[in-house]
Amino acid sequence: MLQVQSTIYLLLICVAVSQASFEDLRCKCVCPRVTDKNSTKPNQAIYISDNFDPSLCTCDNVVRPQNPQELCPRCECKYESRNTSTIKVVVIFIICVVSLLFVYMLFLLCLDPLIAHRPTRYIEHADEEVNLDDPTSSHMAHVNPSLARQRSIINRVTNEQKKWKGTVQEQRRNIYDRHAMLN
């Protein structure tokens, strides 16, 4: 129930939010706070504008004070740029890498032990089928070059993976069991 509610909220917010722009350029002016006569709290000091023209990045254009002669000499305006598309690409890349690693880790932790335990029986079964079946299996047995290549690639990959697992096992033994390194 709560979940549904929160999803609705989420949707609502998504719809409700106006399309605010995330520009790559800005003009930022920092001025001393001017205290109004009435309020005790000083008001805004930072003025940001989406001006794309660096020449327009001045206090007069951005802050638009009532008395420019007084305020503007004390303001500092800076034209700044950033690259949101780089950030976007990098963050999406990171999410992909982390989720891939996570899925692979789940595979190694959960499925792999199951697969590793099964093969003895599984292979026996397959052998029997080969003996029983007639033409299709013999066809399969005949060397299909592309299939053989595929198999050799798979073999190589499994070999590599086995080797890698061995080294990780060894590293784990060094660090977690024997505490010989990286304490």
Partner: protein, 839 residues
């Protein structure tokens, strides 16, 4: 396909590489053997062999051509004697395969000699035409290309990690709904409608409580924020710890102690591999995002070194020679610090002062180039959107006054005391973890630390933000744009420049000081337990944060003192007219950060240069130097070693520190194995020295020795009675040579005699002899038994020896290995010598 025409009699095939299970490669080995044998049978004085080798991957790497160390004289000599009916095939064995086993020390002299031979060979071939000329040119510039690639990749890695870390850290508190890839600061970067709320958020930034629609009640939103903060922290921490455990256990820790050990000439296979790079980069982001009190700056060195190692394999000159590879790694570690602090020169000095062991001038140039490239690439990525390479930097230019040196020096002393305190208790805790059952639950430990950190750090706004942000806040000057409580001064707004100079603190500053004091206590304690848990963790940022808090608090104190007595003669030059006094608490924070970092790591020059590059001017170099020097002096007075050396000692890595002096009056005979000679029968159950005679042993006997012992090399003597030294042969070479001869060479049986001598006393009736002179190192470093250990230690340090032989009146007496030297030093320092684990 690689094709080499050779005019020397030394044809060296890298058997180690050949051992890899490629059947094609095996075929190639056999071909090599055959062609050589044929040619050797002929009466030509120089063998000409054409080797064609086909290998799957890198042909260049397959054949490692080198020449034997002998000069022409020796070659002719050999030929004259060898032109009997004797088979010389085994003359053509590798001098050294250049490969070492895991956890072995490298022999610098041997590796550098191998490189020189390779170089000589290329120079010699240069005249032969166009292709060798191109090859020689490629060889000449490969070092620069390699460091260029390393620099670029280190910069890219750092950029990705920087962006990812800030994004993930902010994910704990909220999300930028319209552009989820932006962190809070970037989310509120643009837009004229931007208004900031209390926590620096804006309308586009949704905190979790706001997203779940509980922003109305203040208490509810706090609780939701708190809970989600802890949950996210636990998720990030758990993923980081699991990744490290499942994919690359070597990715945990800071990595600098291990890099130091590796650069001093030690092999840790897989420590600088691809998986370590990937998991360390990802783990760093996750660990920092989990809010742990650790930084990503230290591990950048490890990441850059991984890049260095991976790229060095593109260039066989570096990839296949461990001593040369370390030149690239030195440059890479400079690039690591360069991207961590945006300080290329500081990086080079860090590499020189702290990490590197062998640092020729050539490497200095390359390190500088590498560090600059890395900084340039990172600058182009602009990860923080502030045109700087780091989050925290100083962009103001306030003056400082001579009296302020007193608080700066005091800060330095406090930094030194903090460093000593941190090292002492961190090492104690790590020792406890190593020996007790706590070490059996690494992931649970990480989760507990994450939970405690998150639980305690959320209530305090200064610990809630991550370390870099905290430092940025603390080193900043209070300007008009700051509305935080740290900048809550009662300023006279009617002045022309109300933000110039100091002011009297209001309540906000007092509150901030209290919070900072609590943050200081919390950070300094939790870092002790955090550094060393099994996730990637560096300690530059936490120590700097502690120092910065200390500095800021002290800065505020001095500021208020000066403001309270502006007319006192002590402060008269600090205050200009109309009571405008200039004390910048932000500068104190920076000085404090330098002091604490100096106290923990005991860096000096590199630290000051890093700080000077962070502050962007020479103006503050004197305060930094004063603090860094005091911190080092105080730290050294309290405890001898820095955190990295302490961790090296804790782990028992075979690191021969070149900074420490050896002052004991022992001599070589006290250290060498076997030790029976000096003390007679008293000291002894040491087995006698295991030697090989030059011409009276059979293949069987040698195989027996190889089976029963575990030494990495054997001295070769004229005979057991005389014990006159001939040379030194490595176990690995011996193994390969014998196995190869038994397999490929006809007539070699188990009772064939083995000859290391240049003259052949061949018995025509017996079985064919096996000639192994090629694998014999005829110029091993020897010392006499009365050589003082000071000299021996210097030789080991400066020449990078792996072992030296001890002689007496020209007779072989014993052997000293690097491990023996390390054990001896440990013993003299009243440490447990058995702590040094590796070979």
């Amino acid at each position: 396909m690689a094709q080499f025409t050779m005019e020397t009699d030394a044809l060296l095939v890298d058997y180690n590489y050949m051992e890899n299970h490629d059947p094609k490669t095996r075929q190639a080995t056999d071909d090599v053997g055959n062609s050589t044998r044929l040619n050797n049978g002929g009466a030509t004085s120089y063998h000409e062999s054409v080797i064609s080798a086909t290998s799957g991957s890198d042909d260049e790497a397959m054949l490692d051509i080198a020449m034997d160390g002998r000069d022409d004289q020796g070659l002719n000599d050999d030929h004259v004697q060898g032109s009997t009916n004797f088979l010389e095939t085994q003359d053509d064995l590798p001098v050294s395969s250049g490969q070492y086993e895991d956890f072995h020390t490298i022999d610098w002299l041997r590796d550098i000699a191998r490189d020189r031979m390779r170089h000589r060979h290329i120079i010699k071939n240069k005249q032969d035409g166009c292709i060798p000329k191109i090859k020689s040119a490629h060889d000449a510039w490969s070092g620069w290309v390699c460091v260029l690639l390393v620099g670029v990749s280190a910069g890219v890695c750092a950029g990705i990690i920087d962006i990812g870390t800030t994004w993930m850290s902010d994910l704990k508190q909220g999300i930028c709904l319209e552009a989820f890839w932006l962190n809070r600061e970037q989310c509120c970067w643009s837009g004229n409608a931007t208004t900031f709320d209390d926590e620096g958020g804006c309308s586009q930034w949704y905190t979790w409580s706001k997203l779940f629609g509980v922003s109305s009640s203040k208490g509810g939103s706090y609780i939701i924020g708190y809970l989600l903060y802890i949950v996210w922290a636990l998720i990030f921490g758990a993923i980081a710890a699991l990744f490290v455990r499942v994919f690359a256990p070597y990715a945990c820790g800071s990595g600098i102690p291990e890099i130091k050990t590796i650069l001093s000439g030690f092999i840790i296979r897989g420590y600088l591999g691809k998986w370590t790079l990937l998991v360390k980069s990802v783990g760093m982001m996750l660990a920092v995002a989990a809010g742990l009190s650790l930084g990503k700056e230290g591990p950048f060195v490890h990441v850059a070194c991984c890049c260095g190692n991976i790229f060095s394999y593109l260039f066989p000159k570096y990839g296949r020679n461990e001593a040369k590879k370390r030149e690239i790694l030195s440059a890479a570690s400079a690039a690591g610090v360069s991207v961590a602090f945006g300080a290329p020169i500081g990086g080079v000095l860090f590499s020189l002062e702290e990490v590197s062991y062998y640092f020729p001038l050539k490497t200095l140039w390359r390190s500088f180039f590498c560090a600059l490239m890395a900084a340039f690439v990172l600058r182009s990525i602009n990860p923080f959107g502030n045109d700087h390479l780091v989050m925290f930097y100083i962009d103001y230019n306030e003056p400082w006054y001579i009296q302020e040196l007193i608080p700066f020096i005091f800060l330095g002393a406090l930094g030194g005391i903090y460093g000593w305190f941190f090292i002492k208790f961190n090492i104690k805790w790590c020792k406890y973890r190593k020996t007790s059952s706590l070490g059996k639950y690494p992931i649970i430990e990480v989760l507990i630390v994450v939970f405690v950190t998150a639980l305690l750090s959320f209530p305090n706004s200064y610990t809630r933000m991550n370390g870099s942000e905290l430092i940025r806040l603390l080193v900043q000057r209070c300007g008009p744009e700051d509305s935080t409580e740290l900048c809550d001064y009662s300023r006279n707004m009617t002045n022309d420049h109300p933000y110039m100079g100091s002011a009297i603190a209001s309540d906000g500053v007092i509150r901030a000081v209290w919070k900072l004091a609590l943050a200081l206590l919390f950070k300094s304690l939790i870092t002790i337990f955090t550094f060393g848990i099994k996730v990637p963790c560096g300690l530059f940022i936490p120590s700097m944060a502690v120092g910065a808090i200390l500095g800021r608090v002290m800065g505020i104190g001095v500021e208020q003192l000066v403001m309270a007595y502006p007319n006192s003669p002590l402060f008269s030059n600090m205050c200009q007219s109309r009571q405008i006094c200039t004390v910048t608490p932000g500068l104190y924070a920076m000085v404090g950060a330098a002091a604490a970092l100096g106290g923990v790591t005991r860096m000096t020059v590199s630290l000051v240069v890093i700080m000077f590059e962070l502050t962007g001017g020479l103006q503050y170099i004197v305060p930094m130097m004063a603090a860094a020097m005091t911190s080092k002096w105080v730290g050294d007075a309290l405890g001898r070693e820095g955190i990295y050396d302490a961790h090296i000692a804790l782990n028992g890595y075979p690191y021969l520190d070149s900074k420490e002096e050896f002052t004991h009056q022992t001599i070589a005979a006290d250290v060498m194995r076997p030790r029976c000679w000096r003390y007679g029968l008293e000291v002894r159950n040491d087995p006698p020295l295991c030697v090989i005679t030059q011409d009276s042993m059979t293949v069987d006997e040698i195989e027996g020795i190889l089976k029963t012992t575990e030494h990495n090399g054997f001295p070769v003597v004229v005979s057991r009675e005389s014990q006159y030294l001939v040379g030194f042969v490595l176990r690995r070479d011996l193994n390969l040579a014998i196995a190869n001869a038994l397999k490929n060479q006809e007539g070699i049986v188990s009772n064939s005699p083995v000859y290391f001598a240049s003259h052949n006393t061949h018995n025509p009736h017996g079985p064919l002899g096996l000639k192994l002179r090629k694998i014999l190192d005829l110029a091993p470093i020897t010392i006499t038994d009365h050589t003082p250990m000071e000299t021996v230690v210097e030789m080991f340090r400066k020449l990078g020896l792996r072992q030296t032989l001890v002689t007496h009146n020209g007779r072989l007496l014993g052997i000293i290995t690097k491990k023996d030297v390390l054990r001896h030093i440990a013993q003299l320092q009243n440490q447990d010598p058995e702590n040094i684990l590796f070979n």
